[in-house]
Amino acid sequence: MNTETYWSIFINASLVNNFVLAYFLGICPFLGVSGKMETATKMGGAVTFVMLISSLCAFGIHALLVAINAPFLQLISYIVVIASTVQLVEMFIKKMSPALFRALGIFLPLITTNCAILGLALFQTSKAYSLSQSLIYALGAGTGFTLALILMAGIREQLEFAEVPNVVKGTALTLLVAGILSLTFMGFSGLG
């Protein structure tokens, strides 16, 4: 059993060990959809949502796998259960709240096999968090992801107007900015 307080789990997951900038998880969406502020916000919301669901799933699966003594099935069952649960929830949202579906919908299937999601499930298991701790951890990680994505989108919107040499344009520039962002996030170390 892990005895970390909720507050320290949240700060750790969102700022100190930011999933994107310190653990390099979810780099693909980070580089891919950070072009516009609006999409970045929606993507962040969708990722946080999926993280909460998968955290819940992972907690249940882990308990089950420990009970039947089959740890080698961990990876396979995590990815299958998480992917199908997200699919189910997506159908549910589509039926219940079309507005929410339009906001998050297109991103949901994209992020089910995102490394940030699976990473979260694996980390919470290895840290032996309780159910409530896991959910706080998922919330923190999602917040951190959203924060990094929004910061990046803000910078990239400004960069549209900057004159950069042709060679630097594209992914290289985004990575350079990400490096600087990662440096600034190091200032949070020691906070958690």
Binding site: L21, A22, Y23, F24, L25, G26, I27, C28, L31, F72, L75, I76, I79, V80, A83, T113, N114, C115, I117, L118, G119, L122, F123, S126, N166, V167, V168, G170, T171, A172, L173, L175, L176, A178, G179, I180, S182, L183, M186
Partner: protein, 213 residues
Amino acid sequence: MSTGITKNTELKNTPSSTDEFIKGLWRENPVFVQVLGMCPVLAVSNTAQNALAMGLATAFVLLMSNILVASLRNFIPKQVRIASFILIIATFVTIVDYAIQAISVDLHKNLGAFISLIVVNCLILSRAEAFASKNNIGKSIMDALGMGLGFVFALFCLGAVRELLGNGTLFNIEVFPGSFQEWIIMILPAGGFFTLALWLLLFNFFKSKKAQV
């Protein structure tokens, strides 16, 4: 992910297997050109050894999953293909995970969760979807070998630079004289972003040079 899929639609002029092999190494290098599978590239490239181990593990999973996907391509129903690919990949990743744990506990600790995360490496899924599910086993093997080696090569490029500058060593062997001041930033997360950005710059530079000629 989309780049890998669109690029392979131009396969109509049926290139030879050697072409399939070469393209992954350079022209369609998964990291430098297609920018796929970034997470492990950045995360475990802090030393040359970690980078090499990670690259080889990924290449192995890529090879095995490409073989299996190619041989089962006529039996997997189209609607559930992605799910089946992921199951196949996850099986091999579990094997690799336990194998590395058996070979070296230290290495397993260094790579941490990133071995398990090979499952969600978009490079592997994109090769299964874009190539192995449409081609025969022989070609798929060549494709996997090329892409796998291209991935190892890219990871090694990053790992070597980061270890050399950040630690003054290469494969734990002292390279620079003792007076060398290590660039700690290179082993930190930020260094990963910077090093990859610089490699991409180099690639872009060569490409633009070539375009001018």
